[in-house]
Amino acid sequence: MSMSTNRIARAVAAKDLRIELRSRVVANQVLPFSGLVMVMFAFALDNDDVLQRVAGGLVWLATLFSLFILVQRTFAVETYDGALDSLRVAGVNPQGIFIGKAAALFVQLLVLETMLFIAAVVLYRVNVNGSGLVLLVTCVLCASAGLAFVGTLYGGLTAGARGRETLLPLLLLPVVAPVLICATRATESAFRSGGLTVGEGWPWVAVLAVFAAVFGLGGLLSFSSLIEE
C-alpha cells in the first residue's frame, strides 16, 4: 500500500516545519545571521545613497548566503540517525520527499525574505508603492520557489557526503546566479532605484518563473537518482 505523492509531500513538509518550530534553529540563528549580513553591508558601503541604490542586490545576496545554511540544516535533520535512508528503505516515493522538503524550504525562505525586506526599508531607507509591492511579492514567490527547488536538489546530492559544507556553495552558487540577476533587477524596479519604473520589473519575474518550473521538473525527474545510494 503506498501513499499518494501529495500526502507524502505534505507529511514531509509538516515534519520539517514542526522540527523547526521546536528547535528554532532558523529563528534563533539563521535570521539573526542574515540581519547581521545586512548591517555589515551598510558598514562596508558606508553611503546612504549607494545603499538605497543597491538595496535590492544586497537583500538577494543575504538571501543566498542564508540559503546555504538553510539547505544544510534541512538535510542535516535527514542524515542524523540515517532518517533519509529509513525513508528510502520504507519505500517512500522520492518525488514526495522532494516536493515536501522543497515546500518546507520555501516557507522558511519566505519568512527570511520578509524579514530582509523589512530590514531594507528600515536600514537602507527604500520605499515601495502599491504596484511595487505587487511586483515584489510575485518576485519573492517565484524566486523562493526556484531557490527551494535547486536547494533541495543539490542539498539531497551532498547530504551525507564528506566535505558537504564546502561542496554545496560551489555547486549551488553558479546555478542560482540567474535568480540573483533576475530577482535583483525586479526588486530594483519595485524600489524604483536608479530611475527604474515598476513595469520594467515584470519580464525579470517571468524568467524567475521559468527557472522555478525548469528546476521543479528537473528535480522531480532526478531526485530519486541523487539520493539513491
Binding site: S222, S225, L226
Partner: protein, 248 residues
C-alpha cells in the same frame, strides 16, 4: 596489492599513438605558423597570434562539455549502464576544465592588450566563466567517493542538470547586459582581416587541439578503468587475506 603483475610495453595503443603523432605534427605547425610564418594583424599587431591558441582551446573546451553531456545521457539511458560512458564523461570534463582555464587565461591576456582590460561583462565571457565553475563542481561531485555505480549515477545527473543550468545563465546574462550600453570594444574574432595563411593556421590549430583532446581523453579514461579495476582487486585481495587469517 594486486596478486598478479602484468608488464605493459608503455601505456599507448595504436590508436592513441596515432592521435599523439597527429597532435604533435599539427601543434608543431601551429607553433611555427602562429609565431613566425603568419603576418601580424593591421590593427592588433603581434597580439593577434594569441588567437591561434585561444580559439582552438575554446572550441575544445566546449566540445569537451558536449561530450560529457552526451556520455552522461548515454550512461543514464543505456540499459546496461556501461561504465565506459561514465569514464569518458569524467575524462572529458577533466580535459575540458583544463582547456577552459587556458581559454580564460589566454582570453584575458588578449583582452588586456586589445581592449585594455582583462575582463568585460560580455554574455559569452560570463557564460564561459560559469561553465568553468560548474564543471569544477562536477569534478568535485565525482570525487565524493562511494562505488563506481554511485559515482556514475550522481555525476551523470549533475552533468545533465548543468545542461539545464547553462542556457538559463546565458539567457539571464544576455538580458542583464542588454540593459546597459553595449561595450564598444573591438570584437576579437570578428574584426580581424584574415589572410589565407592565418585562416589555415587557425583551422590547423583547431584540428591539432581536437586531436590532442582525443589523445588526452583516451589515455585518461584508460587510467580511470585501471583505477576502478584496482579498487576491485584490492578488495578481493583484502578479503582473501582475511579468510586465510581466519583459517590459519
Amino acid at each position: 596489492m594486486s596478486t598478479e603483475t602484468q608488464t605493459y610495453k608503455g601505456v599507448g595503443t595504436p590508436t592513441t599513438r596515432m592521435y599523439g603523432l597527429m597532435a604533435v605534427v599539427a601543434l608543431g605547425w601551429v607553433l611555427l605558423g602562429g609565431l613566425f610564418f603568419t603576418p601580424e594583424d593591421a590593427v592588433q599587431g603581434d597580439a593577434v597570434r594569441i588567437m591561434y591558441v585561444h580559439v582552438p582551446t575554446a572550441w575544445v573546451a566546449y566540445l569537451a562539455f558536449i561530450v560529457t553531456g552526451i556520455a552522461s545521457a548515454c550512461w543514464l539511458i543505456g540499459k546496461k549502464h556501461s561504465m565506459g560512458f561514465d569514464r569518458v564523461a569524467g575524462a572529458s570534463a577533466e580535459v575540458g576544465v583544463l582547456f577552459m582555464a587556458m581559454t580564460l587565461l589566454s582570453g584575458s591576456l588578449w583582452g588586456r592588450i586589445t581592449w585594455g582590460t582583462f575582463w568585460v561583462w560580455d554574455p559569452r565571457l560570463t557564460t564561459t566563466a560559469f561553465l568553468f565553475v560548474t564543471y569544477l563542481g562536477y569534478l568535485a561531485v565525482r570525487g565524493l567517493g562511494g562505488t563506481a555505480e554511485q559515482r556514475a549515477r550522481r555525476s551523470s545527473v549533475i552533468a545533465l542538470l548543468a545542461v539545464l543550468e547553462i542556457p538559463l545563465v546565458h539567457f539571464s546574462v544576455v538580458l542583464w547586459r542588454s540593459l546597459h550600453q553595449r561595450a564598444t570594444v573591438l570584437s576579437p574574432d570578428g574584426d580581424i582581416k584574415m589572410d589565407g595563411l592565418m585562416l589555415f593556421t587557425l583551422l590547423f590549430g583547431v584540428f591539432g587541439f581536437t586531436v590532442l583532446f582525443a589523445w588526452l581523453v583516451s589515455h585518461r579514461q584508460r587510467i580511470k578503468a585501471m583505477q576502478d579495476a584496482q579498487q576491485v582487486t584490492a578488495l578481493d585481495a583484502a578479503v582473501t587475506e582475511r579468510l586465510n587469517e581466519v583459517q590459519a
